[in-house]
Assembly symmetry: C2
Homo-oligomer: 432 residues x 2
């Protein structure tokens, strides 16, 4: 079964936006064990769109189309779809009502050009769009199934998940069922993960995928079975085996971010946290507070970027800064202890380091970072040296601090110092 | 002149990575006034790649290919290119030496499979890759010019800028020269910008493009001339006209971010800044400190997320919080004044608001934000109500605070309160 993806829009042709919809759709097709074979983009040109439709009909069973469903003159996807296959456009009354209602909800009147969005090719099945005005449609043309969806990512994802995948799953039911899970890890390289899991998933019906999303690495087991139950059972088994092998290296699954995991654990334990940041400059506070409801456990932080601020705001003794320097175990611990006391929290973390590009020395190179954790029982600090650039030094440092909190809350040891410092091989040499 | 882009790799077909290379290449083609007409991606399948090559040769004068130049068995782009057009592969000795030297630089020995990267189709011109092991090539096939480049973004960009664009420019020299500039604005909607600039660029050789990158809007004038001098002069004229019309709504140009502009102005004025954040939760500090060298003007900040922290760390009187609430003019100003005093800076900004999704009331809805600015002469605060979601409320609030700093340093009025609050039409309805 061939699947292909077609995205439409002049803004793609001009490189004004990065087309993330193709990856979104391709990844979701995998859940039905469908691998995309072709991906095409064309501009808002009727000839080019029609040509792409006809070529797709000749070679692919499944054709996912995104973009060009809006109300403006440029949006011609549905019209061209009808014309390409010699079909009339017919008015879909429920869609027209839906679009009117959508505007009414926001206290506005439907513009005349929005009516266009309620016309579909004869024989098409309309796919509702509860979060926008552009409904989609499914059209069977010869051997091919066309699905037209909006280009707005949020609308596209919802329509793909709730309308397209169930219909596709039913049509291709004979193929068996596939279930997948994304396991999120931090602190171990992709090749090490691959080695650690070498003898997991030897069953041909289970495949492991790997993906890097700095500073994390993801493992994605995909299991296939004759039924949903069988696929789910296989997936549960392989996930269990992976979890046994990797232990706390896995910090979460699915969409859950590390800051969400830490927030959940803090809430479960009824503990509060504050942060003191030098090199991360506010990133750690920003990540913790980005989670809705974070005020339940996050009290705040101090960004003590200048040394004087470390003394004035956190009471780090000037003598300590003179003797050890700002990037040192002593200062990191003093920052964490002070911020914990000032905010009156159960836990506190602190970061101090040299993010670069300037500021490094032979003794304290760019990439050196100290992370400290304070609790009632006292404080500890750990150091790392990273081979990255300024933004990645900041990001991985905030990740280390969060991961240490997570491991503490789980009763696990923090990840071994210097574990992460091994430089990766030089970037070159790979085609992609 | 048709231009098309072809990217190659199984990871694209599986949606494992978002293909940003197409936008990278398409945007660069615009500098030669070439708009892409087709964009295609296929997996590492020799038949599919060959098919894509032959189709491109039949319809496009310029074909940019990215990916599949690596040393592994999957990397077959060059081999298939040769075979598709009946050409032999020949060894390019200088490339082989270059690859050996690349490994030697990192103290490693070239693996046998890297030799493959030095073979090219007969008649191709090799394009050097100073930052990786995979050289590219240019092949003229009938009417078409193929350029094969690596998929690693950094290598791709360098090869495109230094090898491909000059060759293309020379070949297509008869087309004239195009120059473009990105002007970054904040605080005015795209349609308002469009109206404000209606009678600018009426000359057919100058075109205005618009692009939204929340919370900013960009204007991109593109000018064409018979020579580089003529194009540059036209571009300078239209930029001048746009700047006269928009004034301080334009905060910068090219790649310069608002935090970079503010940092540059602070350094020029020899002034320092600190921040007090509630609703932005560290984002403002993070943005200011993300700029290399920020320690010259940024002293730090307090993330006073909990009310108790506003009192303990910033000395905001409890009575003030009780009387006005945390999201109020009085508290915003008290925060800005206190953080300025504690960090001993010339300037300070503060944010307090209700980012949502929870925490709103009839009187103080989700999206309400107060931003305050303190200097020696005293403090001021302004309020806004935004119709967005939590992450965008935080982002636009940090942008407002930075923009106020910028305007202060330029001697301009801050952007009018509530100027931004007009709700945009509901997200739906646009196909893309």
């Amino acid at each position: 079964v061939n699947a292909e993806i077609l995205t439409i829009g002049d803004e793609l042709m001009r490189g004004e936006i990065v087309d993330s919809n193709k990856a979104r759709l391709a990844e979701r097709l995998l859940s039905l064990d469908l691998e995309t074979r072709f991906q095409t983009s064309v501009g808002d040109d009727p000839e080019d769109i029609a040509d792409a439709f006809r070529r797709a009909a000749g070679r692919s069973r499944v054709v996912l189309v995104s973009g060009g469903l809006g109300p403006t003159r440029d949006d011609i996807t549905v019209e061209v779809l009808a014309r390409s296959f010699g079909r009339e456009l017919v008015l879909h009354e429920p869609s027209l009502e839906g679009i009117r209602a959508f505007f009414a909800r926001f206290g506005r009147t439907m513009a005349a050009n929005n009516e266009k969005q309620a016309w579909f090719p004869e024989g098409a099945e309309v796919l509702p769009n509860p979060v926008g005005t552009a409904p989609g449609c499914m059209l069977e043309q010869g051997e091919s199934l066309f699905f037209c969806m909006p280009g707005v990512p949020r609308e596209l994802e919802l329509m793909m998940d709730e309308q397209v995948l169930p219909r596709l799953g039913a049509r291709l039911g004979r193929r068996g069922v596939v279930r997948a899970m994304l396991l999120r890890t931090f602190g171990v390289g992709e090749s090490t993960l691959d080695e650690m899991l070498r003898d997991v998933a030897k069953d041909g019906d289970v495949v492991l995928g790997f993906r890097t999303a700095f500073p994390d690495n993801y493992v994605r087991p995909v299991a296939r079975g004759a039924s949903a139950e069988e696929a789910e059972a296989k997936l549960a088994r392989v996930c269990q085996a992976i979890r046994e092998r990797l232990g706390p290296i896995i910090y979460g699954s699915g969409d859950e971010t590390l800051e969400e995991v830490v927030g959940r654990l803090l809430r479960e334990h009824g503990l509060s946290v504050a942060v003191a940041e030098s090199c991360t400059g506010g990133l750690l506070a920003e990540r913790i507070s980005s989670v809705p409801g974070a005020s339940d456990y996050f009290r705040g932080g101090v960004v003590a970027y200048a040394n004087a601020a470390k003394t004035a705001l956190l009471g780090v003794p000037e003598a300590l800064l003179r003797e050890h320097g700002a990037v040192s175990e002593a200062v990191a611990r003093a920052m964490a202890e002070a911020v914990r006391e000032r905010f009156g929290t159960d836990l506190a973390v602190a970061t101090t380091g040299i993010s670069g590009p300037g500021g490094g020395s032979a003794e304290k190179p760019v990439g050196l970072v100290w992370v400290a954790l304070a609790r009632e029982a006292g404080s500890q600090a750990r150091d790392f040296v990273f081979p990255f650039d300024r933004p990645r030094h900041r990001l991985v440092t905030s990740q280390l601090a969060l991961d240490w909190l997570r491991r503490l809350l789980l009763g696990e040891e923090p990840i071994a110092p210097r574990y992460l410092e091994r430089p990766r091989p030089p970037g070159g040499g790979e085609g992609r």
